[in-house]
């Protein structure tokens, strides 16, 4: 048994006491035999326990039951999250799901320091465009963007760079992964002079763009 979707569901069901006696026996034997299984089970247990405490602390009564109407818990959670209108939460969630894509993007800060700047996909989906600072510290002619993909990602990206002020397109390239699953993009430094640019990355199959603000020093 690996930590597959099936495992996650089984862990969840075990912790909610939804397994039969024989299933429970098999599951517990699997926990004993599988290094790493206990960590996954413990994390799921913490999620369930924390959620039940969260629900108790917000409502003062027991855990919200399965199939209960959304309106009650949504109001409570929205209040805790300081979201003014629970319907907005629902509407936003459904709208965002239409453009869902599942990856994390890490953007290491270009060699100014060794520290990495992390940009999660959630930030890319948000209204605020993440900013990436670029500084030329060597004599190579190009900036290199390296995009690493996982198995579930698009076959190619349309990478475009626009001037932030007048929105003029200054670079556009459709790039496919290499043998290592990386998408290397070379941009001439002469094209990216000191200025602010919009870097737009569009996964081709979904056509949902992700944008960065490039500030070139």
């Amino acid at each position: 048994m690996t930590n597959s979707s099936n495992d996650q569901q089984r862990i969840h069901n075990y912790l909610l006491n939804r397994l039969s006696g024989s299933e429970e026996e098999l599951f517990e034997t699997w926990i004993l035999e599988t290094p790493g299984a206990l960590e996954q089970v413990s994390l799921e247990q913490a999620m369930i326990k924390g959620a039940s405490q969260l629900d108790k602390s917000s409502s003062g009564d027991s855990v919200v039951r399965k199939h209960q109407s959304h309106s009650g818990w949504l109001s409570r959670i929205s209040a805790m999250l300081a979201i003014p209108n629970p319907q907005t939460l629902m509407a936003t969630a459904i709208a965002v799901s239409l453009f869902a894509i599942t990856f994390l993007v890490y953007v290491p800060s270009v060699p100014v320091s060794d520290a990495s700047q992390t940009v999660y996909i959630e930030q890319l989906r948000s209204a605020q465009v993440p900013t990436v600072h670029i500084q030329s510290l060597d004599q190579t002619p190009n900036y290199q963007l390296l995009i690493l993909l996982d198995d579930f990602e698009p076959q190619s990206f349309l990478v475009s760079i626009f001037n932030k002020v007048d929105n003029k397109l200054i670079f556009e390239q459709t790039v496919k992964p290499n043998d290592q699953g990386e998408i290397p993009v070379l941009v001439d430094k002469a094209v990216l002079k000191s200025n602010a640019y919009i870097l737009k990355i569009v996964p081709v199959p979904t056509a949902q763009p992700y944008q960065f603000l490039l500030e070139v020093q």
């Binding site: 690996t2 979707s5 996650q8 909610l16 006491n17 026996e25 517990e28 034997t29 926990i31 004993l32 290094p35 790493g36 206990l38 960590e39 996954q40 413990s42 994390l43 247990q45 913490a46 999620m47 369930i48 326990k49 924390g50 959620a51 405490q53 602390s57 919200v64 399965k66 209960q68 959304h70 818990w73 949504l74 959670i77 979201i83 939460l89 936003t92 969630a93 459904i94 965002v96 799901s97 990856f103 993007v105 890490y106 290491p108 999660y120 959630e122 989906r125 948000s126 670029i134 510290l137 190579t140 290199q144 963007l145 390296l146 995009i147 690493l148 996982d150 579930f152 990602e153 990355i201």
Partner: protein, 227 residues
Amino acid sequence: MALKLVVEHPSFDQKKPPNNDGKFSPTAIVARIKSGDRTAESEMVTFYSDELMFILSRKFSDKELCLDTHQDTFAMVIQKIRNDELRDPSKLASFIRSTAINLALMSIRKHKKMIALSDSPVLENLSGGSNSAYQDIAQEELTDILMTLINELGVERDKLIIISFYITQLDKSQICQQLDLSPDHFDKIIYRAKQRLKRLILSRNKGSLFTTIRQWITGSDKGEFND
């Protein structure tokens, strides 16, 4: 110079190394114990220890019972291996589990007889009772961490998924249908949330992940003293 955008594929098979050499074979460990290798005994205990304690804690809420059973189980299993009473070494995990449960149940029966003889209301105490002040504080911390986790999720839909799955306990299929999500995507969001939870827990606590979570949860989870 390079700007590196790394699209991370969640590592689904991150597993702690089972032993120093990265390998653990029940058959081999049984053979070594039978041959009198004391190191093999401690390797076996190390490999199964946390997992067995987790299982016992799930089934029995009395901490003393779990601790005693945990210790007695390994002593008995080692003795049975030495005596060549384990017929199928490949089923060592199953053997440990059944030994532990049987020992715990025997202990409960013994306690119940003692309680009946003394006619005292100890039984209620054995089943855990109310949370200690420490547990209350620990559970508040867990709640706080989960709240932080939910707040850190940048996408409202992801918050909704976590809330729907863990608080309202809606089925995965229902959530996927309502939010037009693929099951794979759902799994990734849940997985990612748990990895963030792990980072949050480890950033606040110096102990191991399992120990920290167990401390938060022990005494308030499933498990009654029933036989």
